[in-house]
Subunit: 429 residues, 2 copies
Amino acid sequence: MKTILYPEKNIWNSLCKRPSMDNKDIEVVIREIIESVRSDKDKAVFHYSAKFDGASPENLKVSHTEIEEATGQVSEKLKSAINVARSNIEKFHSAQLLAEPVIETSFGVKCWRKNVAIEKVGLYVPGGSAPLFSTVLMLGIPAKLAGCKKIIICTPPGKDGKVSPLILYTAHLIGITEIYKVGGAQAIAAMAFGTESIPKVYKIFGPGNQYVTKAKELIQQSGISIDMPAGPSEVLVIADGTANAEFIAADLLSQAEHGPDSQVVMLTDNQELISEVKAGLEKQLQQLPRKEIATKALENTMLILLPSLDDCISFSNEYAPEHLIINVSDSGILAKKVINAGSVFVGGFSCESAGDYASGTNHTLPTNGYARSYSGVSTESFLKKISFQEMNRDGVINLGPVIEIMAEAESLYGHRNAMSIRLKSLQND
Amino acid sequence: MKTILYPEKNIWNSLCKRPSMDNKDIEVVIREIIESVRSDKDKAVFHYSAKFDGASPENLKVSHTEIEEATGQVSEKLKSAINVARSNIEKFHSAQLLAEPVIETSFGVKCWRKNVAIEKVGLYVPGGSAPLFSTVLMLGIPAKLAGCKKIIICTPPGKDGKVSPLILYTAHLIGITEIYKVGGAQAIAAMAFGTESIPKVYKIFGPGNQYVTKAKELIQQSGISIDMPAGPSEVLVIADGTANAEFIAADLLSQAEHGPDSQVVMLTDNQELISEVKAGLEKQLQQLPRKEIATKALENTMLILLPSLDDCISFSNEYAPEHLIINVSDSGILAKKVINAGSVFVGGFSCESAGDYASGTNHTLPTNGYARSYSGVSTESFLKKISFQEMNRDGVINLGPVIEIMAEAESLYGHRNAMSIRLKSLQND
C-alpha cells in the first residue's frame, strides 16, 4: 500500500498509469488457436478444451435436460434475489431504447435513424473459481431487450464436463437456451468463425482472462466486433472527513479480491481518514476467504491525499476509473463534475457491489483508462442505428443545386451527375 | 460487369463476399512508422511526410494567416452551398442528443446515464486528388455538437506544403482552427501518442487509404479508440420495373468513380431493367472525368436478377451494404425490412450523393459487411455515456439482502461485506 501526500500535478500522469500488460508473447499462441479453430472447427475446439481446461464434454451444446436439471439445483432464496436483480436491470436497460424523431432537414428532405438489433451475438461467461451468473444477466438482458435473434453463450465446463447450474438457470430464466461448453480463446474463435456445432456471430461480448481478451482483440481484425477492450478491474474512491472509513475499507477490498492485478485507489482531502481506512483494511482483510488475492492487490493500492475535493475529482477525471465511488458530504455536487468514468456510485450508501449485481446499471465497463472514450455495455451495444433519408421532388429541386456544387468542388462528377440527372428529369416534366 | 440470373440461395453467401484485403505485408511498415513517431515525435513526422508525400511544410500547424487567406479563395456560390449542408447536418445530428430519464429501479435506488463528450478527438481528412471538405463537415459538426473540448484535424499537405483552402475554410466555418499538415500513418500515430506539435487525442475518426486504415487498426491496441474499421466504399441498389434506368446507372457510377475497388451491386426482379441499366452505364461512363477508375470498378459490378423484391431485400440484408438505394414502386414498405445497412436512400429521388453531402445524415458509414454490427458516425460517436447510481437508506434495506445473497453465490465475500457493513450500520442506528 502506498500513501502519497500532496503529489505535484506534474506527476499525476504517472500515478494514473496502469501497469502495462505486455502480452505480446501470448499473441503467437492465440493466433495459432484462432487459425486452428477457423480451419478445423469442432475438432480444434475439443482439442484445446482438453489441453487447456482438462475438459472433454461429450457434446459442446448444453442439453435441454441439463438446463431443466439446473432449476432444481438453485435455492429459492437465490432465485428470488436473481429475480429482483433481473427486474432492476430490465427497468434501467429498457429506458435506453429511445426513438429519435424524423427530421425534415430541408423542405422535401426527411432523415431519420432506426434502432435495429444486431442479429447474432455471442456472450462469453467466464467459469473458473466462481460461476459468474451475474454476467449472464448483464449481457443477456440487454441482448434480449434489443431484440437480437440469435443469442448464444459460451462458458468453460469444469473438468467433469459440466457447466454450473447457476449459469444455466440464469440463462434459461432470461430466455437464452443456446449454451456451449467451451471457454478460452477457442470459444472466441468458434463464435467469430463458426464451427459444425457453434454458430458464427457478428459481435462478441464478455469478460475473460488475458487469453480471452487477446483473442477478442485479434478477431476484430477479421471484422467481428467486440464490446470493448479489457484490462484488470478498478475502483477509485473519493472520500472526505464525513465518510465512514469502514465502508471505504470494505469497498477497496471488494475490488481487491477480484484479482492480484486489481487497481484500487483512494483520494481524500483528509489525512486522518487515510489512517482510519488503513486500520479498517487490516481488520477486514483477515475475514476474507480471498485474502491472499486481496493482499497482493493491496500492494499496489494508492491512498492519496490532495488539497481539496476539486483536486480529487480532477485527478479522478485524469485517471478515468472503471468504478468511481463518491463518498463525501455532498456527493451529488461532485458527481456532476465527473468527466471520465465507467460507472459512478453517488454517496456513502452506494457501494460498488450494488452495481455489480442489482442496482440496475451494467457491470461491463471500460477499464484501463478506456473510460475516456468508451461507454459501458448498454442496450445500445446490441443495436445498430441505421440512417434513412427520403427526398421527394421538392427535395431534389431544393437541395439538388447544393449537391451539384459541392460534388463538383470535390471533383466527383459522377456524384454530381446522379443529382443532375434527377434535376433534369423534373425540368422536362 | 457480371449479370447473374436467379442465383441459388446457397451461393448468396459467396456473392456477398468482398474481395479480401490482405494487407499483412504493410503491417510491418506501419508498425515501424508508429513506433518511430511514438519515440521521435515531430522529427519522425517530418521524415515520413517528406518520404511519402514529398511534402516539407515549414510548420506542422496551419497558421491563422493561412486560415484567413482561405476564406477569400472560396467562391460565394460554394460558400452558400456549404452553409446549407452544414445547417442540414446540424439539424439531424442535434436530434441525436437525447437525454435518458432517471429510473428508480427499486425503492431508494436511482440510476441514470449522462452524455459526456470525449474530451480530445482527432479528425483525419484525406487529401490526395480532391480536397474532401465534406468530411470536415461530417466529422466536425457532430464533434462540436457533442461538446468535445479539443478537436484537431490532420490532413496531408500538397507538395507545396499547403492545405486546400476548401478544407481550411470549412473547418474554420464550423469552429475548428487546430489543423495540422500531416497525412498517412504518421498522422494517426501522432494523434495517438502526441508529438511536440501535435496533441494526443483519445479517439480518432476519418477515412483514409490502406496505410491510414492499418494504422488506425494498430493504434487501437494501445487503447486509443477509432470510429470504425474501414474498407472500400459500396452501394447496393434495389430496383423494380418502375425505376428510371438512367438514375440507377448514375447511382452505380457515382460509387464506381470512388476507386477501382469500389463495390457496386444492383438487385432487381425485372430482367429488362438490367439491359437498360447496362446501356445507361455505357453512355454515362463516356462523360465521366474519372472514367478510368469507374471502368475498373465496373469490372466487378454485379447486376443480379432475383425472383421477387422480398428476395432482393433478403440478399441485401445478407450483404449489409454501406449505402442502400431502394428505388421501387413502394420504397417505404421495402425500407422497413432493412436489417443490415449503413445508410438507406428511400425512393427514386434519393440519390447517394445527397447523403454524401447535404441531406443531413452522416457519410462516415460501415463498409465491408460491418453494417451487421456497426452504426455510422453520429453525435454519439463523440460521447461516452457514464452510468450513475445513488442508493439511500431505503435502498440499502431494500436491495442489500439481494446483493448479499448474489455475491455469496459467486463466492465474492468482499463484495458481500461492502453491503453487509452498510446494512449493519443501519440496524445499529
